[in-house]
Symmetry: C2
Subunit: 357 residues, 2 copies
């Protein structure tokens, strides 16, 4: 039996993706080979690779001003690559809205004059700070934001107006709602939430931000290396690209990002409404900044939280523990979490409340 | 029907690995989750991760003086990471035995005083140069070699004596024959030949070569980052680690590396003997330096080579084209190529010779 997995990542994949991968595991399309066994220069793999890029561009309406790069190393590696590639004039601004933006900021520090221009840390990251144009410095190479914050359950509902190119870590909400790619200079995302299996990292970069000669940037971190080779400079993580492509194909069949956004709003809406109408559970996030993807909540005390997580697990509602830095519970409801999973969680929450209030 | 895939990489996986992955695709061990959907902090994934490292250490007899790191980015990323981590005194020596050692060398150039101390380029890399201790410079941080050369079909049968730590790109022959890890300071290998699916890179490093503070090394390329976090600093490529672990488990069941070495010697022996006794096919590699893994050969002319590759494909003997830089054919016979595949190839070669001589 399949479980409902509320993990913050790696997280659920569409069942269609898993089934098709399973069917093709020993022989993809009568080739006699698993995709993981194919030369990355083969016709079959090339088609998969191209379909991934084409479908992503179509779904996100990415113009030809941008390159889509298929990389490795996770968003954490982009915390290095972004400053190493984009810092030319010498400085960049970072907005601190949680653990991951702190990590991005601290990894950028050795690479230039890096400023944390706004932060909601003093309020345990329960909101997204106001970002008037005046807080950004002049002459920066870019402004970095984290569009969704998995641990604290917040997201940007309005993008800041910046003179410098806007760079976003979109790992935890890419493909979950319609965004205007044209507002960004660079978007990066680890695959393991809404794209596919861990091991693939997607970078969407405005072509004019790619620079061939970067004396301080290792070749494999320079975006030019993969951009000039169609992301086939070296062997890509072929199986992860294949499974991610199947996810994108499924998303397209479903009606694209606007269709999944409606479903995501319905899923998150059900859960937030239930919590807000409960005297037992609480979500401490500023309402207007609430994430569609990660919904943290607390029961009346830590012992009940532990009991909740354990009993939920017995009901096949998995990985509901909040991040260790905030405790409580967290339901991550990425694209592949079916609405039935959310309904089952709410039913369990009701029952648990009745039994423990 | 499964094909015999002679690709230089990505290449065949053990059928047991594919079948077990297939069986567990929608639910690993009744968890209700694919391994690709699990939190990398979960108990199930932790066990897989640990079994990979433990089994690799056991198979390769890796002592506790070494760390095993599970990384991403391929051997190509190690071409940057090795000099960025190991160059302290300022210089390193490289031995040039093919395309990949040239790439390793050229990526190292920006990072210090890098010398190509020996090369077989003038003879199209058909042999491994003699490496007397006198050719290595004093005061280097390491000496870099490529133990097997996929394109040219050569391998080291004797390791050089070096004062500086020996660093080896072992991507194309790791796990294929018994080696003494204690002779190396660092071994690295992309997974996609003898370890598992592309997207995983293994580094085996002597612990004293790991340095925490490296001002010029991006955090994600510093070996300390993953070494201090058991290779769980960020999300690893969980599915690739799982499938690789299954490969290692299978290898252990088979009797370990000495057992697979015997099989590999038998497979390569059959093919070399057939070629050497043929007046139609030729292998130009210096006999004592012949690879166990990659066996290039030529028919009497380029047109026949093309015909050979096409007709072999129709017999489900796939990806036999030689690398574009050398032409002809190349049979890559990594660990997971069954001896039946080699026998079928030889039978086809015989028939093709009769029909075309």
């Amino acid at each position: 039996m399949r479980a409902y997995n509320f993990s913050a990542g790696p997280s659920m994949l569409f069942e269609d993706t898993l089934k098709e991968t399973q069917d093709n595991m020993l022989s993809y399309k009568d080739s006699g080979l698993c995709v993981a066994e194919m030369s990355h220069r083969s016709k079959d793999y090339s088609e998969i690779h191209t379909e991934f890029i084409t479908t992503l561009k179509e779904l996100m309406k990415i113009s030809d001003d941008y390159d889509v790069l298929l990389l490795q190393g996770g968003a954490s590696q982009q915390f290095d690559a972004v400053p190493l590639n984009l810092i030319k004039k010498g400085k960049a601004d970072y907005v601190i809205t949680g653990h991951w933006s702190e990590r991005a900021y601290s990894q950028a520090l050795p690479h230039g004059d890096i400023a944390a221009v706004a932060s909601s840390k003093q309020a345990v990251f329960t909101y997204i700070p106001e970002l008037p144009a005046s807080i950004f410095r002049d002459g920066t190479d870019y402004v970095h934001i984290t569009t969704n914050n998995t641990i604290y359950g917040t997201k940007y509902t309005k993008l800041p107006d910046t003179k410098a190119p806007l760079v976003a870590d979109m790992s935890s909400n890419i493909l979950s709602e319609v965004i205007d790619v044209g507002k960004f200079g660079l978007i990066y995302a680890g695959a393991q939430k809404n794209i596919g299996p861990a091991g693939l990292t997607v970078v969407i970069i405005r072509k004019d931000l790619i620079t061939k000669d970067l004396p301080n940037c290792p070749k494999m971190l320079n975006y030019y290396t993969q951009s000039s080779a169609d992301s086939l400079f070296n062997t890509p993580p072929c199986l992860a690209v294949y499974m991610s492509m199947l996810n994108l194909r499924y998303l397209k069949k479903l009606g694209g990002i606007s269709a999944i956004q409606k479903i995501n709003e319905e899923k998150a809406g059900l859960l937030y409404d239930f919590i807000d109408n409960s005297a037992f559970y609480v979500n401490n996030v500023n309402k207007k900044d609430r994430s569609l993807m990660n919904i943290p909540f607390l029961s009346p005390n830590g012992d009940l939280d532990k009991k909740f997580i354990k009993e939920a697990e017995a009901q096949n509602l998995l990985t509901l523990a909040g991040h260790k830095t905030v405790g409580g519970m967290r339901a991550s409801v990425y694209n592949a979490m079916p609405i039935e999973g959310v309904k089952k969680l709410i039913a369990f929450m009701k029952k648990f409340e009745l039994e423990n209030k």
